[in-house]
């Protein structure tokens, strides 16, 4: 992606989020939007992260607490189901894990280099004391 230089920009520093026209943005999902190179959606903050969330759908009850409390729009929910974490935009704050009500939690934080399949295979068991 070739970025525009300082003096090639429109006067007044007006940035357009989309290429082309979107009529009803509130009804258009992110994957259907034609983001322009000026939308931060096309950028990534993945390198901020030291720990990352891993999502285990076996325990998820689709309560959507993580979706509503995610500060970085990184929990992807479609049709009332949680389908995954957007690793380009997740900053690894860990709020999703804190608010997860299941036992064991369906989201847990692991070091950035952890392998998803290995961690899901060795997921912690239900904590009886807490229940």
């Amino acid at each position: 992606m070739a970025k525009k230089g300082w003096d090639e920009f429109e006067i007044g520093a007006m940035l357009r989020t989309f290429d082309g026209k979107i009529d009803d943005i509130a009804a258009t999902r992110q994957e259907d939007r034609a983001y322009s190179q000026n939308s931060s959606y096309t950028a990534s903050v993945a390198d901020w992260r030291l720990i990352k969330p891993i999502f285990n759908k076996d325990y998820c009850i689709d309560c959507q607490f993580c979706w509503v409390y995610c500060p970085d729009v990184s929990i992807i929910s479609r049709d009332k189901k949680l389908i995954g974490v957007d690793m380009d935009h997740c900053k690894g704050c860990g709020i999703c894990v804190e608010v997860c009500p299941t036992n064991p939690k369906s989201l847990l934080m692991f070091p950035e280099q952890a392998d998803e399949e290995t961690e899901i295979a060795s997921w912690p068991k239900k904590d009886e004391e807490e229940a």
């Binding site: 992110q30 000026n38 939308s39 931060s40 959606y41 903050v45 409390y69 049709d79 935009h89 997740c90």
Partner: protein, 318 residues
């Protein structure tokens, strides 16, 4: 009037298509973006937004990126409210002249500002907007400090908090003056709707925002926004701190309709002592030294008094 978006539960809410994007540069665990998302997702109508200088503005509009999928403008520190008020006046004028290209759409006008830009710097501008009766909503992201510039005190900073211009140390316990009661000040403008919200009570928040969009006239919303950097807690605890703030009644959730009808919208089942709220944050760490313990006691008394006042006012309907 366009139809209000129906949000019965969180599952239904989660079908909203976000109009705020990730990869903004807010700190990990920042409550600002949680509040912004809850507000923007509360409606399906078009949005005309502005933001005052502050964390939200500098982090969501870093050249060459923007994190907003709606019309958004930034002018100065003080005038996010007047910027959208101007847009709203123009919209009304064009509507009256029949020159709107899409007259059936009902855009909502929302301005975001931090506590510095609302309690101090933009105070006069906001007061003007409220007095002139523009059909706008002003939302304060109240993190009780000038977080963007390094944590200077604002008039929202509470007693005992250690800020860079009122640091706690050998001779001082930090901020000396109590927080300004902006909600009462705005309610005294006799505007249709004033409310205090918290991001952890999403349903209460959405209800109030929708009420605010539905009424004709200026609306003022004060939202507590726990700041992981300046309140000094772990990023993962943002929602826990917000829970403590609402459950200890340091941030009671209530609304004032037409300047007199006060309703308490959230009554915690178990009221948490203020001490727990203070202990969870690094900015109040020094209050737990023996010589400053009396401040915690005073704080609890202040919170109790405020809560009793709110309950009396709710009952008396004045």
């Amino acid at each position: 009037m366009s139809e209000m978006k129906k949000i019965k539960n969180l599952k239904e809410f989660s079908t909203s298509a976000d109009r705020f994007e990730g990869a903004n540069l807010l700190c990990p665990g920042c409550a600002h973006s949680i509040i912004v998302r809850e507000v923007l997702n509360a409606t399906n109508d078009d949005l005309i937004l502005s933001a005052s200088t502050g964390c939200l503005e500098v982090c969501t509009a870093v050249y060459p990126y923007t994190s907003w999928d709606a019309s958004w403008i930034h002018i100065g520190f003080e005038n996010s409210s007047t910027a959208v008020a101007g847009a709203e006046s123009m919209y009304k004028a064009l509507k009256k002249k029949g020159r709107l290209k899409q007259p059936d759409r009902n855009p909502k006008f929302v301005s975001f500002a931090g506590d510095g830009a609302s309690y101090d710097i933009g105070f006069q501008w906001i007061s003007g907007c409220m007095e002139r009766g523009h059909n706008i909503m002003h939302i304060v992201l109240d993190n009780e400090v000038y977080a963007n510039t390094g944590g200077q005190r604002s008039s929202s900073t509470p007693i005992g908090s250690s800020a860079t211009t009122s640091p706690a140390g050998r001779v001082s316990y930090g901020e000396k003056r109590n927080k300004k009661d902006i909600v009462s000040i705005m309610a005294a403008h006799n505007i249709p709707y004033v409310a205090q919200v918290a991001p952890n009570k999403w349903k209460d928040m959405v209800k109030k925002i929708q009420h605010g969009f539905a009424v004709e006239g200026p609306v003022f919303i004060n939202a507590v926004s726990p700041c992981t950097t300046e309140w000094k807690f772990d990023p993962k605890d943002t929602m826990n701190i917000a829970d403590l703030a609402t459950d200890s009644l340091v941030f009671p959730l209530y609304e004032i309709i037409d300047g007199h009808e006060l309703n308490i919208t959230y009554r915690p089942k178990n009221i948490v002592p203020v001490e727990e709220y203070l202990a969870a944050q690094g900015r109040f760490k020094h209050l737990f030294k023996d010589e400053y313990k009396y401040l915690i006691k005073e704080w609890q008394e202040r919170v109790d008094e405020k809560w009793a006042y709110l309950q009396r006012r709710e009952e008396a309907r004045v």
